[in-house]
Amino acid sequence: MDGESNYEIHQNAYIKLILHALKHKTSSVNGVLLGRNSVNGDNVEIVESVPLFHSQIGLLPPLEISLIMIEEYYADKGLSIVGYFHANERFDDFEVGNVAKNIADHIYKYFPQAALLLMDNKKLEALLKEGKDRSPVMQLYTKELSRSWKLAGADASGPLKIKEPSANIVLLDFISSGKWKDIIDFDDHLDDISKDWLNPELFK
């Protein structure tokens, strides 16, 4: 691989991750990204996402179970794990912590173009005020060209794009209608398995 990969995230995958972070404002949350390589191999398409945890993110057992289950579920649909999403506990914390790095490293082992997405609270705040920005309210980190996770351009011309240009408008609509309350993550599922981490009702 010589050049940087481009990443395209689908609207629903994107919205789910942000709503999950908003539901648990007072703790770190994470999620996993599902997708595939484009035919020529330069682009990564992030088609789906699953919200994982909002408590005790640093523990292995729930993580291992969730990753196996998610992988098994999406394998039939031709999607595999292509990245990791993380939102820090504190609003103004823009550091990729060790737990996030370790989980992303694990994904990187199987998928070298893995994306590490970090929630950008400042950008979300600006979006909530002005509502104009069309670029994702997340920062993209990759490990493709270096030994550690590096920020890969956070602005609109960066390598991370949302597939649908109106995604942020839909997102704002979801936020103002309180849809974030309905988001179910893997923590919720392990506490009550009748709760479905696929969130099938969310986009109905």
Partner: protein, 299 residues
């Protein structure tokens, strides 16, 4: 702990209040009693009572607790002006009160004036070294600044004084886990299990940390504690999965040597069966995913 019934009751009341159906005071009392964090709601509806002279005076002495509740909620919502107004009313009513002093210090904290807040808390503690709320605010303040090592120091100091505060031990354990200091977290959970041996939640958390640490001995202990979680609290999806993970990991480490005894194999297949039964009943759409998950763990 908030029971499911209590949570449903709160949600019902919240819905009613939001739709103008009355019951605001009941709602606020319940949120207060259950120590829930619904600050935006408390602020909005609490103010609607406080700004109405008739409703406000109908509360009698409860009026002042409501001012306190709304002040704290307002600070949580970064509505520092609203908080200031509430605190002013309380200052006039109770001049020189320590409880109001605590709110004043919290307002400094909410405004991000860390060193001023720190001084205010310190002087409150000089007057009353056993004020638990102030001790805890100091921990929270260190956390808010991202100063985790200071948060750990304050928590340890606090636990020297209040060794029986289980919530604080748990908080300390969770901070250690977030820093991946698993050995220190293990110590906290051991402390919790010693003081509350019958609480399944501690057994589960202890097992989770041991599994994360890894190594044959830790995995074997983790498995025992997953089993005791189920034993003391009925079924728990997390503990059942935990047993499956431990068995699988132990199998990989020993590579079939060190033959496990019969009981342990039985425990593993029982756990898998319990999971399958539970999923069939309550999550039928996930049964096939569960089966392939268990298969990939070679169960």
């Amino acid at each position: 702990m908030v029971t499911r019934r209590e949570e449903e009751e709160v949600n019902r009341l919240e819905n009613q209040v939001e739709n103008g159906g009355g019951g605001v005071w009941e709602y606020l009392c319940l949120v207060h009693k259950l120590k829930l964090r619904r600050s935006d709601m408390v602020l909005k509806h609490g103010l609607s009572i406080l700004n109405d002279k008739k409703k406000r005076s109908a509360l009698g002495p409860e009026e002042w607790t409501l001012y306190e509740q709304v002040a704290v909620a307002a600070m949580d919502c970064q509505s520092n002006d609203a908080a200031k107004d509430c605190i002013k009313v309380l200052q006039r009513k109770f001049p020189g009160s320590k409880r109001v002093g605590r709110l004043e210090a919290m307002l400094l904290e909410a405004r991000g004036l860390w060193s001023e807040a720190e001084n205010a808390y310190s002087s409150l503690l000089e007057e009353n070294p056993f004020d638990q709320v102030v001790h805890k605010r100091r921990v929270a303040m260190a956390k808010a600044q991202g100063n985790t090592s200071a948060a750990i120091d304050w928590l340890n100091k606090y636990l020297d004084l209040f060794m029986a505060d289980h919530e604080a031990w748990r908080e300390l354990a969770e901070i250690y886990v977030s820093l991946q200091m698993y050995k220190q977290a293990v110590f906290c959970y051991e402390e919790l299990i010693l003081s509350q041996p019958t609480v399944p939640l501690h057994h589960l958390a202890y097992a989770d940390v041991l599994y994360t640490l890894g190594g044959l001995e830790n995995l074997q202990t983790a498995k025992k504690y997953y089993a005791s979680t189920i034993d003391s609290g009925g079924k728990s999806t997390r503990a059942l999965f935990g047993i499956c993970l431990c068995t699988s990991a132990i199998g990989q480490l020993t590579k079939g040597r060190n033959k496990e005894d019969k009981d342990s194999l039985e425990l593993q297949s029982l756990s898998a069966m319990a999971l399958e039964k539970d999923y069939k009943q309550r999550a039928p759409s996930k049964v096939s995913v569960l089966s392939s998950t268990l298969r990939s763990l070679k169960i």
